[in-house]
Subunit: 461 residues, 2 copies
C-alpha cells in the first residue's frame, strides 16, 4: 500500500464508528484465510467489522473512490477460498451483524448476515418453525455466507438448498448503493430474478446485509436406517434404488476411510470392516414412513448390504447424523486436506465414487469420501502431509483429476461450497467459453471497477 | 417495414426450413396478442414456428444483424402482454418444439418448451412421478412460458413455484449464441446462478429452447376442506390461522362474485349466499393428515365459518379444485376482464382483500377476487364492458389502484403472471429507481441492441 493509500485508509477509519476497523497485522492475520487455507491469500490493509448496512455503504463508496479491493467475509468457514484476502484489500466482516426477528404468522425470518446457521435454526425452532438448509458446518458457518455460496447440506435431498429459502435480500452494490430485493412474499415475479442472482454470487456482485428467509413447520420425527456394504459400488447402486422410488429426508454415504476416521475420533460403533456405509432417514409419518423405511431397507438388501439396521429412536438417529457430520474434523486429524465438492447426475454417482477410488489408488494418496449421496454431491477429502513435497504434488494432481472426472461425467466442480479461488481455474472447463463470457458480462455490469472480491469465481481484471 | 427489411425477411425465410415462416397477415394476426388482449399490440412482420435450437439461433443472428425486434411466444396464454407483438417484429413461436424424455432414476424431465404444462405432468405421471407447478391454465399454457414467467399455481403454497423445479436450461442469447446452463444436477453452484436469472425473465434476456426439470414422487392422496364465510375478512383471518400452524397442500380463496360466476357456469353446489369460500387440501398421510384437516377445520370455525365440509373422497376433492380453476373462464362470461395478480406478505392479506372490495365499491365496478390465499397471491378480476367508455375508464382506474394498494402494503404487482407490457408502468413504483437501474444494466449487458422482447418488463430503448 502506498502512502497515498494509507492516508485514504485514515479517511475510511474516520468515516466509520470507533472500533470498527482493525489494522494491526496481528489481528488482521486472522482474517486472511478461510477454512480452505488458500496458500495464495494476501494481506488485508484493514478489516472492517461492520455493524449495519450503512457501514458497508461507507466502505464501498470509499473503495470505489479509491479503487481498493473489498473481500466480504462471514464466519470464515468457507471451503473454497471465497474469502481469501487480497493484498491491500479491505475485508468486510459481518460477524457483528447478528439481529434476527421471526414472524411466525408470515413464517419468515428477517436476519442480519452474521448469525450462525445454527442460531437461525434455533430462533425458528422457538416458534415451532424450521429453517432446513444444514451444511455440516452449521454450528460455525454464517447465514450470510450460506446465501453467498448457496450452501447445501444433508436435508437438501428432500428440502432443497439455501436459494429455495431466500425470499429477500438487502445488498450493497460495488458503488455503495443499498438495494432491497424481494421480501416476505412467497410469490413475486416483478422484474428480473435478482434475489436469486445474488444468492451464490460469492460476494462478487454485492455484499448481503439482510436476509428474509422462508421458514416451514418443524420437521416431524425421523426414522433412520444404517447399512454397511462390501463395496462402494454396491452402496452407490443402493442409493439409486432408493432415490428412484422415494425422496428420503436424508441419504448420506461414507467410505471405509471415513468410517474409520470417525470411529477413531468419536466411537459410534460403526462397522470398521465395511467398505461403505449409507445413512438414510425418512420423516414421512405413520404408514407412509414405515413404507419408506421398508423401501430403503429392501434397496440396501437387494444391493448386497452386509448389515442393515433401522431405528425409530430419535436420539439414536441423531447420534448417527452427528457421526456423519464428524467426518470432516475426524479426517482433519489425519493430515492436511484438499476438500472436494464434486457432483454428478444421479445415474453417474456409482461411476464417480469408484472413479475417485481409482484416482486414489493410482496416485497413492488417501482420499476419504463422504457424500450427500441422495443428490449426487460428494466430498472426496484428499489427505496429505504438507511437509512431504512429493505427496503434496500427488494430492494436487488428485484434486484436479477428481474435478476433471466430475466434468467428464456431466457433473459440477462444486455442488455447495462455491468456486472461490481454489477451484476458479476449473470453472471454464465446466461452463465453457460462452457461459464464462456471460458470467463476466454480469460481473462487469454490476462491478465495473472489479473491486468486489476480485479473483473469486472469475479471474480478477 | 421498409423494402430493405422486406428483402432481409426473404433472406431469413431462405435460411429456415420450409414452412417455418408465416407472413400472411391473416395467419400472423393470431400471434399478435396473448390472453391479456393488450390493445397496444403491434403487427409482426413474420411468425417463425421454430423446430429446434438452431432455428432460434438463425432467427436471432439475423435479427441482430438487421436490428429487428424478436418476441418469443409459448402457447399465448400469458396474462400480462408479455408476448404482445411489436410492429415489424419476428414472433418466435415454440409451439412445434414438443419433445420430452423422462429419466425416472435421475427423476428429471428434459423437455422442449412447446409442451403444455399438463403434458409434462402426464409424461411424469407415467413413471409415477410428479411435476408440481400447476397454473390454473395448466392445460393450455406451455412449459417454456411457465419458465419464462416463473409461473405459480395452486400447489405452490407447499411445493414452490417453477424456478424451484428448473435445474437446467438451453437458452439462445440475443446474438444467436446457444448456451447450456445447469443440467440434471440437484446441487450445482459453479458460477453465477444464471439458470435462475433466465427463469422469470419473460423473454427479455434469451429464448429458452430446452428445460431440465426436477420431478418428485407422485403426490399422495389429498383430504379436502371447503368452508363458507359471511365476510372476506373472516376468511382471510382463517387463512392466517391455518398458515401460521401448518403448510397445507392447497389453500384457495373465492369471493361471493367468483362463487356465483362458477355456480352459473358449472354448478358445483357451492354456497351462493357465502361472501367468501376457502378450499384447502392436505396431502399429509395417516394421523398427520387427519391432524392437518382438524387444524384447518378449527381455524375456519374459530374465524366464523358458517359451513365447513371435509372429505377424503378424492373425486370430490378434485371436483372442488376444478371449480376453483373454472373461476377465470366463468368470470370471462360476465364481460371483458382486466386481470390482477397482486401479492402481499401474509399478514397483509386481510387488508388487501378488504381493500379490493372497497375499491370496487368506490368505483362502482365488479371485481371478482380469487386467490392462492396460502401464499398471499390474489387475482382480483376486474369486469367491464368495453363498449361502455365510462365503465372502461373506471375499470382502468381500479386496475391501477389495486396495484398501488399492493405496493403500499409491501407487496408485489405480480406474483406469478409476470410484468409483461400491461404492468410495466407500475414496476418502477414497486422496485424503486436503484433496482430498476440494476434490471436495466443486466438487460443491456445481455441484449445491448434491445432486440429481445422490447417493451416487456422494461421500457424499450
Amino acid at each position: 500500500m502506498t502512502s497515498e493509500h494509507l492516508s485514504a485508509l485514515d479517511q475510511l477509519i474516520a468515516l466509520l464508528p470507533d472500533g470498527s476497523v482493525l489494522t494491526d497485522p496481528d489481528l488482521t492475520a486472522g482474517y486472511r484465510q478461510d477454512w480452505a487455507a488458500d496458500p495464495t491469500a494476501g494481506h488485508p490493509a484493514a478489516v472492517v467489522r461492520v455493524m449495519c448496512t450503512e457501514d458497508v455503504q461507507t466502505v464501498l463508496r470509499w473503495a470505489t473512490e479509491h479503487q481498493v479491493p473489498v473481500v466480504p467475509r462471514g464466519a470464515g468457514s468457507g471451503l473454497s477460498g471465497g474469502s481469501s484476502a487480497v493484498d491491500g484489500c479491505i475485508v468486510v466482516s459481518t460477524e457483528r451483524m447478528r439481529d434476527i426477528t421471526i414472524d411466525p404468522v408470515a413464517r419468515v425470518a428477517v436476519t442480519q448476515p452474521g448469525l450462525m446457521n445454527a442460531e437461525v435454526k434455533k430462533a425458528a425452532s422457538e416458534h415451532g418453525l424450521w429453517y432446513p438448509p444444514d451444511p455440516s458446518s452449521f454450528e460455525i458457518c454464517s447465514i450470510g455466507g450460506n446465501a453467498a455460496t448457496n450452501a447445501g447440506g444433508l436435508c437438501c435431498v428432500k428440502y432443497g438448498v439455501t436459494t429455495d429459502y431466500v425470499l429477500g435480500l438487502k445488498v450493497v452494490l460495488a458503488d455503495g448503493t443499498a438495494i432491497s430485493l424481494g421480501g416476505p412474499l412467497l410469490k413475486d415475479v416483478a422484474g428480473l430474478s435478482l434475489t436469486k442472482l445474488f444468492v451464490g454470487s460469492e460476494g462478487t456482485l454485492g455484499i448481503i446485509t439482510e436476509l428474509t428467509l422462508r421458514l416451514i413447520p418443524a420437521q416431524p420425527p425421523t426414522l433412520t436406517v444404517v447399512a454397511s456394504f462390501d463395496s462402494v459400488a454396491e452402496a452407490a447402486d443402493a442409493v439409486l434404488a432408493i432415490t428412484s422410488n422415494i425422496r428420503p429426508a436424508m441419504l448420506e454415504f461414507m467410505d471405509h476411510a471415513s468410517i474409520n476416521a470417525v470411529e477413531d475420533s468419536v466411537r459410534m460403533g460403526l462397522n470398521r470392516q465395511a467398505r461403505a456405509l449409507l445413512l438414510a432417514q425418512s420423516d414421512a409419518q405413520g404408514a407412509a414412513g414405515d413404507l419408506e423405511i421398508e423401501t430403503i431397507v429392501a434397496a440396501c438388501e437387494n444391493n448386497g448390504a452386509t448389515e442393515v439396521f433401522a431405528t425409530d429412536d430419535q436420539a439414536e438417529g441423531d447420534a448417527f447424523t452427528a457421526a456423519r457430520r464428524a467426518v470432516f474434523p475426524a479426517v482433519q486429524a489425519l493430515g492436511s486436506l484438499m476438500l472436494e465438492d464434486v457432483g454428478v447426475p444421479m445415474r453417474q454417482l456409482p461411476e464417480l465414487i469408484t472413479g475417485v477410488e481409482a484416482i486414489a489408488e493410482d496416485l497413492d494418496v488417501l482420499i476419504c469420501t463422504v457424500a450427500h449421496a441422495g443428490d449426487g454431491n460428494t466430498h472426496p477429502l484428499i489427505v496429505f502431509d504438507p511437509s512431504d513435497p512429493d505427496m503434496t504434488e500427488r494430492a494436487r494432481i488428485a484434486f484436479g483429476r477428481v474435478m476433471d472426472l466430475a466434468i467428464a461425467l456431466g457433473g459440477t466442480i462444486t455442488g455447495e461450497h462455491g468456486v472461490g479461488r481454489i477451484k476458479r481455474d476449473w470453472l471454464p472447463t465446466q461452463l465453457g467459453e460462452d457461459v464464462m463470457a456471460l458470467n463476466r458480462k454480469i460481473k462487469d455490469a454490476l462491478d465495473p471497477l472489479g473491486i468486489l472480491n476480485p479473483g473469486a469465481v472469475i479471474a480478477a481484471k
